[in-house]
């Protein structure tokens, strides 16, 4: 096994609460037996782990936390937990919670909550689906547990933000979130990942588990805003009970490497999952989304829409797996992946992967790769719009549909200028995108 995490593993063993130790030990054991994937591993064929050649260590506990800029995160009014370099920041967080919501760090969990966490943690990660999950278990020191009681409807979104400050060289951060949605509960969850400065290299191993009991509704935003020398390997593993609904919105700006696995296990009849996603690598960045819809029972639906804009010499990978088990009759699954290459050297590897073992299902999938439409560009120019501004408008137009459908106004208002600026080296060029 590669020892790039040796130091971080040793540090984690000393810092975890006692009740997490069995999980850590299991993780260490499994990780010890794990071979790091390489280009011959099908699920990693287009994604190099070269960036993990250097050793990473757990961040040193800080006496004082770094300041963060408000502009780097959406400003939501609800309960907010903020971590910088893996360290919880009470000074920046808002822990007032409405009734029916439990939101605690693992380190602060009561004995009863610790028992709940121990029972549920790891259960959404299907065996073998996530090669880095044992590493997450093994280095787990702190995480967040969010539980919404049965029949509770949360008004305000819950926001959990993980920031890296680039203060030290080669930091590894383990992020873990466990969400238990009780029967017929409703909530909105926002996870943000950002770096406040691009300095040292950071490796974030993020793992989120979403357990939706029957009838639960969860809107889940996962915003990967990290840029620069950040490696993020992680994923979301969801298990949906009967008639539950999961609405996911995923965004990944590019960095050295982002690999995100989104796995949804439909375990109860009538469950629905919709998942929208945007990835926008540029420079020499790489973003890799692997999605997997497991349809194990009848009468479930899923709809995925992912859009990518790949610029410069960047690389993107999208792999959309839909697995319909023999029992899962009357499944409806849709998958659409559209890509825009804005340079001749940009690369996209897109692959739908369908395994269908039931005969009475509807399954639609499509993938497209295109460049900016020269005729549309010309048309805008005939109306006086300068070429560079027209290019920005058309690029943004490619993802606009998904941005406009974002249900949370604060998130939309936060993302629109951020995304518009992504295509414009000069803010003026994005002035009409509002």
């Amino acid at each position: 096994m590669s020892d790039f995490m040796r130091e971080a593993l040793a540090a984690a063993a000393q810092r975890a609460p006692a009740w997490l130790e069995p999980m850590q030990a299991r993780g260490r054991n499994l990780w010890g037996k794990t071979t790091l994937p390489n280009r011959k591993t099908e699920a990693w064929k287009y994604t190099s782990l070269q960036a993990l050649q250097q050793p990473f260590s757990a961040p040193a506990p800080q006496a004082r936390g770094a300041a963060i800029s408000e502009a780097s995160l959406p400003q939501l009014d609800g309960p907010t937990l903020i971590f910088t370099d893996g360290q919880y920041r009470q000074d920046l967080s808002n822990t007032a919670v409405p009734s029916g919501l439990s939101l605690v760090r693992f380190g602060d969990a009561t004995a009863e909550q610790a028992a709940q966490i121990s029972a549920a943690l790891g259960t959404a990660v299907l065996p073998g689906r996530h090669v880095f999950s044992p590493l997450n278990d093994a280095t787990l020191v702190d995480g967040v547990f969010m539980a919404v009681a049965a029949d509770t409807q949360l008004e305000e979104p819950v926001h959990i933000a993980w920031l890296t400050t680039g203060q030290s060289e080669s930091t590894s951060i383990t992020q873990r979130l466990l969400v238990c949605m009780g029967p017929n509960s409703q909530a909105t969850l926002v996870e943000s990942f950002a770096n406040t400065a691009t300095g040292g290299t950071a490796f974030t191993n993020g793992l989120t588990e979403l357990l939706l009991d029957r009838g639960a509704h969860l809107s889940h935003y996962r915003l990967h805003l990290e840029q620069g020398d950040v490696v993020h390997i992680g994923g979301v593993h969801a298990r949906q009970g009967a008639d539950s609904q999961l609405h996911g919105f995923h965004l990944a700006l590019g960095s050295v490497l982002k690999r995100i696995d989104l796995v949804v296990d439909h375990q109860g009849s009538g469950a629905h999952c919709s998942m929208d996603g945007l990835y926008l690598p540029r420079g020499t960045e790489t973003v890799d989304y692997h999605t997997c819809m497991e349809h194990a029972v009848p009468h479930c639906t899923s709809r995925e829409r992912f859009r990518g804009i790949i610029a410069d010499e960047a690389t993107a990978i999208f792999n959309g797996r839909i697995h319909i088990h023999p029992e899962a009759q009357k499944t409806r699954a849709e998958l659409s992946n559209k890509n825009l290459l804005t340079s001749n050297k940009a690369e996209i590897n897109t692959k739908p992967e369908l395994e269908i073992y039931a005969d009475d299902v509807q399954c639609a999938h499509g993938a497209t790769v295109a460049q900016l439409d020269p005729l549309a560009l010309h048309y805008l120019r005939t109306r006086g719009v300068p070429r560079d501004e027209a290019e920005v408008m058309l690029s943004y137009g490619f993802i606009n549909e998904l941005v406009e459908e974002i249900g949370q106004p604060v998130i939309k208002a936060f993302l629109k200028p951020l995304l518009a600026k992504r295509f414009a080296h000069d803010a003026r060029l994005a002035r009409h995108i509002l």
Partner: protein, 248 residues
């Protein structure tokens, strides 16, 4: 206003314009008619600088400036407007955003002060009303899912907002029913002014009963083969184009 001398142009290595001459004075309305494939649409696209349309000889000057050496957007800033026969659909870019970007760019170039959102909205609403286009079209993607008639009216609305010096209307009448034709024609008539010129490219005399041209030209084989007043249009309607090819 516009002076075209001996213009030769090709599209994908095929010669289309073969020595076209045309002079349009300020305030005039010219109609260009002609059979299919004579180069009518090519003329508009060449003047607008469409990729794939190459000028091989000749010149075109707008307000004294060499049009052909300018980038497409600068031609628009100078006052050229081409109303497309087939306007382009641009999903994801709202009509409003597109119009505001266009108007801002053109006004900026002219040295006019930028319009604030309120004044722009007011103008946009007025233009919608003038072409009988529901305000909902401002929020939709540019031409996305518009019917043929809605696209033509959307072109006309852009023209009203941009207030160009030279308008080239490429078969604006095609695909319009009689009611829509009247709306579009009265919109174009309202745009007539002593310092604005209009070129109507059309197959049919029908449009010219609503918009009375000062001059009518017949384009055939990439050249203007006959010019006259509005009575020429009526003659063409009666006799077709074949007799002119003999003249040419």
């Amino acid at each position: 206003m516009l002076k075209i001398d001996n213009l030769h142009a090709k599209v994908d290595d095929k010669d289309i314009l073969k020595g076209l001459n045309l002079t349009v004075a300020a305030g005039e309305v010219h109609a260009i008619m002609g059979p299919n494939g004579s180069g009518k649409s090519t003329l508009g696209h060449v003047l607008a600088g469409r990729p794939g349309y190459t000028v091989t000889a000749g010149s075109a000057r707008l307000l004294g400036q060499d049009l052909l050496e300018l980038d497409t957007e600068h031609r628009a800033h100078l006052g050229l407007f081409l109303a497309y026969q087939y306007p382009v659909e641009i999903p994801g870019v709202s009509n409003m955003e597109f119009l505001k970007a266009s108007v801002d760019a053109v006004r900026e170039h002219r040295g006019d002060p930028a319009l604030d959102s309120m004044s722009f909205m007011k103008k946009a609403r007025e233009a919608c009303k003038a072409v009988d286009l529901d305000l909902a079209f401002l929020k939709r993607g540019v031409n996305e899912g518009f019917s043929g008639g809605e696209k033509k009216r959307n072109e006309l609305m852009q023209m009203m907002l941009l207030e160009p010096k030279l308008c080239i209307m490429d078969e604006t009448d095609s695909g319009l029913d009689i009611d829509a034709l009247q709306v579009v024609a009265s919109g174009i008539n309202a745009m007539r002014s002593p310092d604005r010129s209009i070129i109507l490219v059309t197959h049919y005399q029908r449009l010219l009963t609503f918009i009375e041209p000062d001059h009518v030209h017949v384009l055939s084989g990439g050249r203007i083969v006959k010019s006259g007043d509005k009575s020429l249009a009526l003659e063409l309607e009666e006799r077709g184009y074949a007799w002119l090819e003999d003249v040419a």
